[in-house]
Subunit: 595 residues, 2 copies
Amino acid sequence: MRIANRWRTHHCAQLRATDVGRKVRLCGWVDRRRDHGGLVFVDLRDREGVSQIVFHPEEYFEAAEIGKALHAEDLIQVEGLVARRPEGTENEGLATGEIEVVAQSVRLLNACLPLPFPLDAVVENEELRLAFRFLDLRRRRMLENLRLRHRITRAVRDYLDARGFLEVETPILSKSTPEGARDFLVPSRLAPGSFYALPQAPQQYKQLLMVSGIERYYQIARCFRDEDLRADRQPEFTQVDLEASFAEPEDIQSWVEGALEKVFREVVGTDLSLPFPRMSYREAMDRYGSDKPDLRFGIDLYDVGEIFRGSDLKVFRAVLDAGGVVKAVNGKGLARIGAAELAALEEIARGLGGKGLAYIRVESSGWKSPIGKFLTPGERDALALALGATEGDLLLFAADQWQLACEILGRIRLRLADLSGEPKEHSEWKFLWVTDFPLFAFDREEGRWESMHHPFTRPRSEDLPLLEEGRYGEVRALAYDIVLNGTELGGGSIRIHEAELQQKIFSILGIDSETQEQRFGHLLKAFRYGAPPHGGVALGLDRLAMLLAGAESIRDVIAFPKNRHGVDPLTGSPAEVDAKQLRELRIAISGRGNA
Amino acid sequence: MRIANRWRTHHCAQLRATDVGRKVRLCGWVDRRRDHGGLVFVDLRDREGVSQIVFHPEEYFEAAEIGKALHAEDLIQVEGLVARRPEGTENEGLATGEIEVVAQSVRLLNACLPLPFPLDAVVENEELRLAFRFLDLRRRRMLENLRLRHRITRAVRDYLDARGFLEVETPILSKSTPEGARDFLVPSRLAPGSFYALPQAPQQYKQLLMVSGIERYYQIARCFRDEDLRADRQPEFTQVDLEASFAEPEDIQSWVEGALEKVFREVVGTDLSLPFPRMSYREAMDRYGSDKPDLRFGIDLYDVGEIFRGSDLKVFRAVLDAGGVVKAVNGKGLARIGAAELAALEEIARGLGGKGLAYIRVESSGWKSPIGKFLTPGERDALALALGATEGDLLLFAADQWQLACEILGRIRLRLADLSGEPKEHSEWKFLWVTDFPLFAFDREEGRWESMHHPFTRPRSEDLPLLEEGRYGEVRALAYDIVLNGTELGGGSIRIHEAELQQKIFSILGIDSETQEQRFGHLLKAFRYGAPPHGGVALGLDRLAMLLAGAESIRDVIAFPKNRHGVDPLTGSPAEVDAKQLRELRIAISGRGNA
């Protein structure tokens, strides 16, 4: 990296003992100032690192006067001589630790006001950090996060470029298709009353590119969702988006695996072992109660329905008779958790809509449980065997419809892992492909079928007869999600490429022909002109960067994120605009009363 | 590029004579079907190229039956044997020209409706092309354009990555700062009555990144301008955006030169000679009448004012006495252009606000000109010498204020180049840096000073006293534009990094303190925390790709462009949206009457 120009001869991490005696010029920020033995020392910091500057008032009076007056984060230019540090004062922890620069002249390039927060300590007030983002990003860790993100996209691009993928930019000013999440809208001035929408994903454009014969496309794509911002969502986010024609799920999965392998090797020096394990949605739910199971710990869910099929325990019997299931999980060594903890677990179950959570404390003095008295010795033995229960364990039961029972115990499982002190840090990387998702999920509130992924997802060929027979809930999709340590990193599918099948799916979703034409006419049209079979995947870049950075929030790997209210406290965006701007767009703000 | 899977064993440009006898499977589109000597031949095309498929009805009846029924752009999968083409039927122009594939079985994967336009011919109706963009992009040339664009960004990224530039994503949902062009607005649902704006450029964010100490930033950045769409503008466009701290104009120029050299070498195999020439704004206007002169031809403008200072020609004298200039250009060999052509030249002058265009036809029989009789023999000789006029030339004169006279003859110069048949194709690449732009331009209509580039541009240090003295028109900017063959490819500047100077500039531009705080408060604030000196540049990627592709329009290097009305005829965007969406955003469409 060439640095030298009028401003500086070196960057602050560049000088070594071999440079002693050299006259140099550095620019940087005052990282720390120390006064010691009548001398002023400054750690001068730039992007690359730190050099120690020492001010000798007897030799270089003017420089030393300026040095004395320096504050944290003042920006200075220093001219001086590289000197070896006095013996015993070297800093082995620093690349430049053997030398210091004796300041001959100093220029204060730009002073810094008193800092709103220290740059070398954790600051809990995130709102303040965002309001001074330009300072927050000066923290070494934040800079490293941005650098890491750069290296991730670089590695992904290198990998995909080498495999013939073309990066194609798709429009940001696109069309509203009110499926899924809420769109951000952009009023059109040239066509008053009309709106562009910001894309929730380049899904339809990338499919159109496949119809065009691009065959292999990718994009580091900005996506937008106007959702209420939960803990770690952003209104705009970035995904690694790819699509390929004549591709099988295995092709796409292996590209993702290869790209991630390269990213992990080059960015954090970790060798991943490929291929990642695969697990069907059904198995993931059955064993882990989640379609994004965290495999860093091994707590499994068991179906213990058979044991209770003839039981005296009426609540379990009733559920089983109604077609439900009884599932259980063993909290090893947790027999003695307090009543409050147990109540919290029950609250998880109820929060998801469950009727409750039965438990058994396996203690030396026997099984302590409200349901204990209903269990025969045979049932106890069978349970102990099924759950590997030994003294000190806490057994938890959910009896409900399969889906709900799985989900409840899936959440309980995560909590049990916390309680048992299972390692949750990301020192270990447990990837998993979850496959064979249901194509549809039934929305009970709305009383209609919905796409589990999106309406362009292809059903498995062998399940097409089920589609004909109206057994929609049983149709499996050619869809796959990639999960890392319990986080869904991305997902994809093989798509529908025939107009007729696509129309059939739309119809099942309750989209009538007119609406189909209006919203998706371009795609249906394209499918009639020799559209190739194709499929793809999208990975959440923010989330991947967050995990690799060991960050707590995706906001820590985004240069200028919005807060939980969708606001950027630095620029004050969103903001009111001039009345003239609204007039030109022919829109008006309606009162709260009208909403 | 690994291709083989269940769909195909090879791509269509892969097979060679060495593959003869091999059983292969190909997928692709019917590029052409020919019936010849009782056999059906199909040119099967995929992204990589073409293979000839031959159908033998006697050996493979079923396949041949399907082959006979194939239409253009049907998508098929062919299984067959690679065979050597009969002697004399090889096609040397084709990589696969020595072989053909004898179809043993064929599957029609997806049929194609009759094409709305031929894919192998020029189609003038661009609206139709856009409405069927998925077919339009199947043309070899359009695919190659997208591939070329991919390779340009790849080369730029490689170059900048190697020099320590970090790619940082800046927000698309940003803040409206109604300077310059019109913003696209995005109503906020969470903060009703407030709006995000789509960025016209990441200017302020990249400056904030410099304050953060990122030092070297770049982004292939999407930008948005809600302007009336002239011939070759798009509401969204892409720029190569970069910014660096502790950088001189020469540093930034040399990065741009280095990146372009790499792009031209790797993408079109052309070696550029570096550095590009530099020319001040003043000289560019004086010599070529343009701040983006086309240097592929050498027609120069001359100041001939001295010759007319004592002349009888009152119209010239009056202009000179009023502080104006008389400038001239020599249309070599154009003495005999017709009256209509001459009128068209005069129209150019008047269209720009000039009073007219004096001319002299230098003919063998003497100088033919309405102003001829006012010229003394001495003036004639002086003119002939100054303009290098010889028999057959057409001399054209503009007498006006310097700026306008230059602009008129600058436009005339381009027209003269056309008339003389000067080469205008892009076989020759004439780069130029134009430097030392004025910082301000006076807007006579509004009666106020405006930034020639933008308000963040830094004045030259030696011109700071002029700023103090209120001689705003004379202050030169540390700004530079890069020009290629008469097209402005991009521009940049060193920025202001001190709050006081920035406020001073804002004030000169008539932005009061309150408005400064409201619109640019975040930047002013940032400058007070040790902001480093910095500068940058932005290059228009669409335009660069267009020039390199030899395309007529930037729409030919954008996958899904909008038409001149800001509409995408394919998806029908922008479109009306559900009333519910507007209610949620608390906005209403105001009638045309209110506008």
